[in-house]
Amino acid sequence: MSTIALHDEHNHDHADHGHHKETLISKYIFSMDHKMIAKQFLITGIIMAVIAMGLSILFRIQLAWPDKNFPFLETFLGKWAEGGRIKPDFYLALVTIHGTIMVFFVLTAGLSGTFSNLLIPLQVGARDMASPFLNMLSYWFFFLACVVMMSSFFIQTGPASGGWTVYPPLSVVAKAMPGSGLGMTLWLVSMVLFVASSLMGGINYVSTILNMRTKGMDLWKMPLTIWAFFLTAILGILSFPVLVAGVVLMVFDRSFGTSFYLSDIVIGTDILPNEGGSPILWQHLFWFLGHPEVYIVIMPALGISSEVISVNSRKPIFGYHAMVYSLIGITVLSFIVWGHHMFVTGMNPLLGGVFMITTLIIAVPSAVKTFNYLATLWRGNIRFTPAMLFAIGLVSFFISGGLTGIFLGNASLDINLHDTYFVVAHFHLVMGSAAIFGMLAGVYHWFPKMFGRMMNAKLGYLHFWLTFIAAYLVFFPLHFLGLDGVPRRYYAFTEFEFMKKWLTVNVFVTWAAIMAALAQVAFLFNFFYSIFKGKVSPQNPWEANTLEWTAPVEHLHGNWPGEIPTVYRWPYDYSKPGHDADFIPQTVPFSQTMSSNLPHDFEGNEEAEKIQRDWELANPVPENKG
């Protein structure tokens, strides 16, 4: 506790100094304020998301109309779409960069980076991050990573195109495909920068949460968002370095002639000198990050939706402890399931059996979370704000996508489903759509906190319904392609007689994807318009309990003008019987809510319990109340 007190004093100091001289550059560009950095992450994330979505529309067009020419494609893409048709190599580049951007830049940095930065100091009651400078660096490394990744579109050989998992030897041997030349080098450089950014962010999040909570904010009084960010950061810190290790070895293989991943390779009749390596090694290193990565993507979304669902159901989240323990369970288990990506990659089948067991166990905490969401909605008083709509959408996607995971986690079933459209459908629902919906829920919910203005709710409604319906229309039918044995990353379905029956489905899916993309225009317009012209937000627009809504609407360095508020209770006292309002912020002491206190609120503090009993004797409860 002494550290907190110390820190508090320090910041008081800081506030007394008044602000530093803020220039345009120190305020908007090289800002060290966590709120500004959050906005930078968010807007960069949104821009990257729009780019990645655009790429997906391009390859969806190719899939839907493989035999038609679209001259406008040539206008945009030049030699990669000569005659208006995307070339096979560029098609693979499109899917690769779409995946990379979405997974790493949008759903990791855009989601975790934005909301961890915004909410951790505000919700635990800190003036800023533990290291604002590191925080700033974290953003700029991320930004550089984005720039390097996008620059690969402007080189002769095109971007990396070995799939977002960049399996060697395809990605290492430059002769194997054009994208494995300079494009792949840029991919690796970008990834190293990105991981550095993630680590700086993660270390900051963990140290802020552990050391800088305000008075009274013990771990079990933290909102579930913070728990989710905390565990996500731990996952990232432990798994991202492994990716970097793998990436560095790959750089060595590509540029310095080592053979970590290469052996016995003949391209045409050209015998490569590499000996003794194993391509499977990369898969182990990659998926040791890669699988935790999907939880790095989904856990912040789950945390956000826990908060949003509780606030808008006007009910405490059901089973707060169970929610935390299931998050912890997911965190621990996610480190021992990576092999389920490799059931049929030539890994020893003995391991397949083991990884199947751990994989299916991870479904248990996920199921607990889902049931707890449902129980939270039960007998709630649900306000359908745009954030709430997206949170409900998240739960739906999480269920739909999670259930298909039970097929894929089963090694025997994976034999026929591995690398088919079933996998595509599965992860686009469970980590793509669900995580994006979590992110959007967060944006709608905390937009007032970020920009001091409200977003237009009606455009939000429109955005939600179009996106929700379109996402299901896109991804549900894809399961069936997979069950029919259609592999993913196929440039066209024209070469196989049996795939031709899916062409109409492909056209339908492409139209649905275009609809989903256009629906985002409603969001983009709403977002950027509301930054400048939105209705000015009240301090606590959603009547929520958490600490960030006690900070003033106007942003100031250090978040709270005076002392940091003290926390007395957990964040989910909604609709507590005996209290007149349907929410009690965390900063309200029990002494002010004598009529609604419950015995377990006092956590065994006998003195407090005695005071409460005396009060209750003095103020008998009227008969038919509420």
Binding site: E74, T75, A176, L374, A375, L377, V395, L413, E495, K576
Partner: protein
């Protein structure tokens, strides 16, 4: 905000949007013209028409939405001005939409299951495939039940418990008994699935060998973007390979110093006798590919530097399958399922499952890999190959058929 100010604001905004929109359209038109100049041979009139058409259509939709939005706003403001309660109860609308989504969605799922579900792969044509199908069906039933029930609850609760100013939510923070129940039940269900899956998996990859029914060895080598098939020849054993021996005349790098290699045969398609176990030996020359044969529920990646094995027993001939699927053109195929480069989408070979007799006639016609050029290269006497007694010997040779484990070829 006054009504007038509001309308002026929106009008200006709408005007701005329109102006930008038209500006954009003309930009597109210019792009289109530029494109047309660059590649004049393609017939593109129609497509350009359609690109602009779609952009205009989208803008029209935006305009329409803006008008509706404004109408709603005017309605709400007029209600407000008259001192009446807020015009539109959005909570009720969303609740009803969720209910509607539930009903339409469940119908959609039913439609998908019945229509698209009927377009899938036929029943497994291999012994282990039947087990996989059974496992799949069980999983499908369980997950469908969970899917439907949880969605009814999710959207049902959303509908029933929509906001009402008269009601207060029920303060119900936790119930450990319920938590335990819904931890244990999924755990039990998953235990069943895990056990079944584990046993199925073991039965596929850890087979005990039947000495009377030795599997037929077939080696498949992948490279960008084709497959090479190697039959073992009379000795029933696929001979050794060494990638360093790869030349234009010996593209697989077969080591003909190994006696087992000398009678190995090449084939354009994979022909296998029905009811006999087949042991696939899968390798790759250049990058990772995936040997995917969905009708038999067989898939395994081919990895350079490794030999991996998959054993299966086909149960239906191609002819039988043609009857069963009512499709006289039906063919079994195997193709690539792991991204491997620009030709990934077209890397296939036909599999024919035939009777034992047909197989014997077919295999007798296949040529050996070893030809005169290679004989010279390996300093072997250039002489006619010994006459082979064909596939009956396949099952008899036991020399190199080892246990069915994967091994690193290093």
């Amino acid at each position: 905000m006054s009504l007038r100010k509001f309308i002026t604001n929106k009008t200006t905004a709408a005007l701005a949007v329109l102006i930008t929109a038209f500006a954009n359209t003309s930009v597109f038109a210019q792009d289109a013209a530029a494109g047309a100049a660059a590649a004049p041979k393609v017939d593109m009139g129609e497509i350009y028409k359609s690109v602009i058409f779609y952009i205009l259509a989208f803008l029209a939709v935006c305009l329409f939405i803006a008008i509706i939005g404004k109408a709603i706003r005017v309605y709400e403001l007029s209600r407000e001005a008259q001192g009446k309660p807020v015009g539109i109860n959005w909570n009720r609308i969303h609740a009803s939409l969720f209910a509607l989504f539930l009903v339409v969605g469940l119908y959609g799922v039913y439609w998908e299951y019945t229509v698209h579900g009927a377009m899938l792969l036929p029943d497994a044509a291999s012994e282990h495939g039947k087990k996989i199908d059974k496992m799949f069906n069980l999983t499908l039933i369980i997950t469908t039940i969970v899917f439907v029930v949880t969605h009814i609850l999710l959207f049902g609760f959303s509908y029933i418990y929509k906001y009402s100013a008269k009601r207060k939510a029920y303060y119900y923070p936790h119930n450990n008994t319920i938590e335990k129940i819904w931890t244990i039940i999924p755990a039990l269900v998953l235990t069943v699935l895990v056990l079944m899956g584990f046993l199925t998996w073991r039965s596929i990859f850890f087979k005990t060998e039947d000495p009377k029914n030795k599997p037929l060895q077939i080696e498949v080598t992948s490279e960008q973007f084709k497959w090479s098939i190697r039959y073992p020849g009379a000795d029933g054993v696929v001979g050794a390979k060494n990638y360093k021996l790869t030349t234009a005349t010996n593209p697989l790098g077969i080591d003909f110093k190994d006696l087992n290699s000398r009678d190995d045969e090449m084939a354009d398609e994979m022909v296998i006798p029905v009811g006999k176990p087949v042991k696939l030996i899968l390798t790759s020359k250049d990058v990772i590919h995936s040997f995917y044969m969905p009708h038999f529920r067989v898939q395994l990646n081919t990895v350079p530097g490794m030999r991996v094995f998959f054993e299966f027993t086909p149960t239906k001939t191609t002819a039988e399958m043609q009857q069963e699927t009512n499709d006289p053109n039906f063919k079994y195929l195997f193709y690539c399922a792991k991204i491997c480069g620009s030709g990934h989408y077209n890397m296939q070979k036909v599999v024919r499952v035939v009777s034992e007799a047909e197989y014997k006639t077919w295999i007798a016609e296949q040529k050996t890999y070893l030809n005169d050029d290679l004989r010279k290269q390996f300093n072997l006497p250039v002489a006619p190959a010994p006459v082979k007694s064909v596939a009956d010997s396949v099952a008899n040779d036991s020399a190199a058929v080892k246990t069915n484990q994967m091994a690193l070829n290093k």
